[in-house]
Symmetry: C2
Subunit: 203 residues, 2 copies
């Protein structure tokens, strides 16, 4: 479920505040979901609550983290060190949630011998070697659109089975490989759509 990470974040905030127990209603308002939906989501993982009391924050957090797979460290590589790749390499939210950026790659020769976020930028041809050496299964693509499919093919060939794609292209990958796409301008377009509808109704 795509909502588990949201619950996880809210639970982490509760842990910070030394709150030991919470009801589904509490979590629901904190995360902006319906409380029945939240309970159903959690019951799908098992019966981790106590009727009349609620959920043990620490315990529930661990159970969700285990379900999502965050009890282990996931090595990640980032291909395409432009503005966005730069930002991703420096993003602290990855490391704090069980992801470790093990390598940055870029095909452009001008990155030779440069460092970003404490990691050397390595030439793209070393992809296979790095993926195998570090058992990487998750790759991030932050290249321009026209390079994305090539990068994806190489990633899949090297053994990567999950791709987070920031390039504005539809990637085609074989069965068994997961792709998630984040398209910044599409998000803005969706907002513009709603903006326009507001403007049409009002005046």
């Amino acid at each position: 479920m795509a909502r588990l990470p949201i619950y996880l974040r809210a639970l982490s905030a509760l842990v910070e505040d030394n709150i030991g127990t919470c009801s589904s209603e509490d979590l629901a308002t904190a995360t902006g979901v319906n409380s029945a939906k939240l309970r159903k989501d959690l019951s799908y993982l098992g019966s981790y609550g106590t009727r009349g009391v609620g959920y043990d924050v620490d315990y529930l957090r661990y159970q969700i983290a285990r379900e999502v797979g965050l009890t282990q460290d996931w090595p990640v590589i980032i291909v395409g060190i432009g503005n966005l790749g730069h930002a991703l390499a420096n993003y602290s939210g990855f490391r704090s949630r069980g992801f470790r950026v093990v390598a940055l790659l870029d095909a452009a020769p001008e990155f030779k011998d440069t460092e970003v976020a404490g990691l050397p930028v390595r030439p793209f041809v070393e992809l296979e070697e790095i993926v195998r050496a570090q058992s990487v299964s998750i790759g991030v693509i932050s290249t321009p659109a026209q390079a994305a499919q090539d990068v994806a093919d190489r990633m899949v060939g090297a053994g990567i089975t999950s791709i987070l794609n920031f390039a504005p292209t539809v990637l085609s990958v074989p069965e068994g490989v997961d792709v998630r796409k984040v398209d910044l301008s599409i998000e803005l377009q969706i907002l513009a759509y709603h903006e326009q509808r507001k403007a049409e109704v009002a005046p």
Copy 2:
């Protein structure tokens, strides 16, 4: 509909390739959608196809752009010029799709007199003035999580009615204000979840 921008991008690619006409099947495979779903989406906008022929690429593109609201220019401000804000300010995909970044803001005084992507970074206190002067209705938040709610409140107070939030927090905003959230680490967590399930089944 959230799929319209995807169709729009595929249509733009077809225009580049000088393709004047396409069937729903063509567009569907290019965007990775079921062709029946695509036709239903398009028919919701009106009857812009010709049976036995398909859709006129240029005409359809214009109609979708009009529906989404991209025939006009949308001024946008970005608050929080860290790594991510930097990348967003430089992202060319915004301008090329009808969005114009009119101001960058940050509360930190060390940004005084600096420029990013050709725009001066202005102090956060000038938010209201900028929003009013430029009639901005869309704001982007790329601050740390703890500042995000404050920024959102100020944005709403200044008259902004659509917010794209990159901070890992649930924002609470009044009725009539749209918020879209992009959480980079949640995307990775969803991939990790699927990765783990693959690993459980295989060995």
